[in-house]
Subunit: 202 residues, 2 copies
DNA sequence: ACAATTCTAGAATATCTGCTCTAATACTCG
DNA sequence: CGAGTATTAGAGCAGATATTCTAGAATTGT
């Protein structure tokens, strides 16, 4: 029914990602149109608004990241090893998919997607995006510390999320290889968790 | 000679910082003018352009941070203690000057200052901004490990930069108190460096 | 007091950007 | 084939925004 699509969504999203990463506010609708070879009208027909398009880009990027994250975590044995594997994925993601990693780690969602006037489905998707990760972090806290309360979960978040984030971000900004110091980073991750566990039951 | 200034630079920079932190692209020249009670014309007379103004804000913020950093590092005894003191300053900065910390830790420079068409002096100042910190990190590595090569410096950077950054960022984003887990963080910093030192000379 | 200098002041402008609108196009299904 | 429908297509619009411009005001040095 109807005319088939001439351009794939991913074409548009890739162009958008590249222009956003190029910085300087270059991701205008006109530029998106030129870069992806998709007319402005088609962009609006497909995505509804520029904000909605950016939201879709964000969703795609986060989902790609999470897919690898859960795969890595599931493959590892429960407890400390699993936490370290989860942390390692952030580094590996930056190596495997540099463009997506740059978008995810160097851009905040609020900065990318401005307006709150989005389709309800998209907005809901954005809201619930972190839910599965939070569940995983809680489970990690339970595995490592025996119980998941505010304190233990916070330590896990810092060790598994924030620390790799800070590390990779620094190397991405410097244009260097984030994987180069992967072992050193993971040692600190493990250390952070071990020390917190030692403090828990004195 | 000539008419004295009616408004202090800091008044303008404070208003700019607040509007930038409020997000949503609200830091327009008109908004800056209203918020700081300085006419648009005066802003341009003083700073030359919006970008130049934002660059000045960035410079002021980084210099404030570095001033405290070097003060803390100088006051501490060389070696491990000095590294821990440097790490501690990041946490204290977030506590003492929350607004500046938010700007520095949650905003990238490239995102704040768009154009490269800045006064040469300002651009040069932006370029050389990190130089003294890098020197300090190298010196810390030399003090702790006896020599500063790529590996030892990286460990110092992870412990003194990435780790506190991760810790503070989490709390700034959540609106919590960054100083709450200061002791635990510093313990991990010290431990990380001690362990790396033990590994260095097996 | 006078001239020189620096700053204040905000209306006007030129540019840019997200978005809409109308028409045409190309495919599927009956 | 023909009706229906989803998509393409891009010129044009309305609003916003950084910047300029011109006039005037306040202060200092002579």
């Amino acid at each position: 029914m109807g005319r088939p699509r001439l351009h794939a969504d991913d074409t548009v999203l890739d162009a958008t990602r590249d222009l956003v990463l190029a910085g300087g506010g270059g991701a205008t609708t006109a530029a998106l149109s030129t870069r992806s070879a998709v007319p402005v009208g088609s962009l609006y027909h497909r995505f509804g608004s520029r904000d909605a398009l950016l939201a879709e880009l964000w969703l795609r990027t986060v989902k790609r990241f999470q897919a690898g994250l859960f795969a890595a975590a599931t493959a590892a044995p429960p407890g400390l090893d699993r936490a370290v594997a989860a942390a390692a994925w952030t580094v590996d993601f930056a190596t495997d998919q540099p463009a997506d990693a740059r978008l995810l780690l160097l851009t905040r969602r609020e900065e990318l997607v401005r307006d709150a006037s989005l389709p309800a489905t998209v907005r809901a998707a954005l809201e619930d995006l972190n839910e599965p990760v939070i569940r995983m972090l809680r489970q990690l806290a339970a595995e490592i510390f025996g119980h998941a309360d505010r304190g233990t979960v916070e330590v896990v978040v810092i060790a598994v999320v924030d620390l790799p984030y800070a590390h990779v971000r620094r190397h991405l900004l410097a244009g260097g290889d984030a994987g180069r110091h992967r072992p050193a980073l993971l040692r600190v991750v493990r250390h952070t968790l071990e020390e917190a566990r030692a403090d828990e039951v004195p």
